[in-house]
Symmetry: C2
């Protein structure tokens, strides 16, 4: 029986789902790439990212590429676990039919 309380509230939004599933396959993904791939405004992306950061599901790396600033994000071990178990719960819920 799939139970909805096993789904993680942090992953309910499409934006979060998108961010996390990108980070499941890409080791470091940078801000600009997210913005383009997910077609988000700065404010929207930044707030979702900082939400996931606060939960420690992703980490940030700031550096310079040449002389330009570059900010990238990586999924944490915790983030991976939580996302994976969210997916499992989703599948359980949906595979009841």
């Amino acid at each position: 029986m799939g139970r909805i309380d096993q789904l993680n509230k942090a992953f309910e939004s499409r934006v979060r789902l998108g961010i996390m599933s990108i980070l499941m396959v890409n080791d470091w993904m940078d801000y600009k790439a997210f913005k383009e791939q997910l077609d988000l405004t700065d404010g929207n992306l930044a707030s979702h990212i900082s939400g996931l950061e606060k939960l420690e599901y992703i980490t940030v790396r700031k550096r310079f590429i040449g002389k330009k600033t570059n900010t990238s994000y990586k999924i944490t071990a915790l983030g991976k676990r939580e996302f994976q178990s969210h997916i499992n719960a989703l599948e359980k819920l949906l595979n009841s039919f």
Copy 2:
């Protein structure tokens, strides 16, 4: 490539996901059963149900069992299509890893 804009906003919440996946397998499901299975308050359940009703993803049937009122819900053809395609989009998104 899974694109987040193919996910249906109407199905983002855990409650909606729960309602819809129950209705994918149960032909008619009644109010009280939803309330118990999903562990929701009346207000919460009713508002999600009326949202799905407004979108015509579910229909209502009111009748008497004995002399008691009984309200049940059924998924519509549209609801089934939309939910299915939401699931497909979800799977596409998540199967990119």
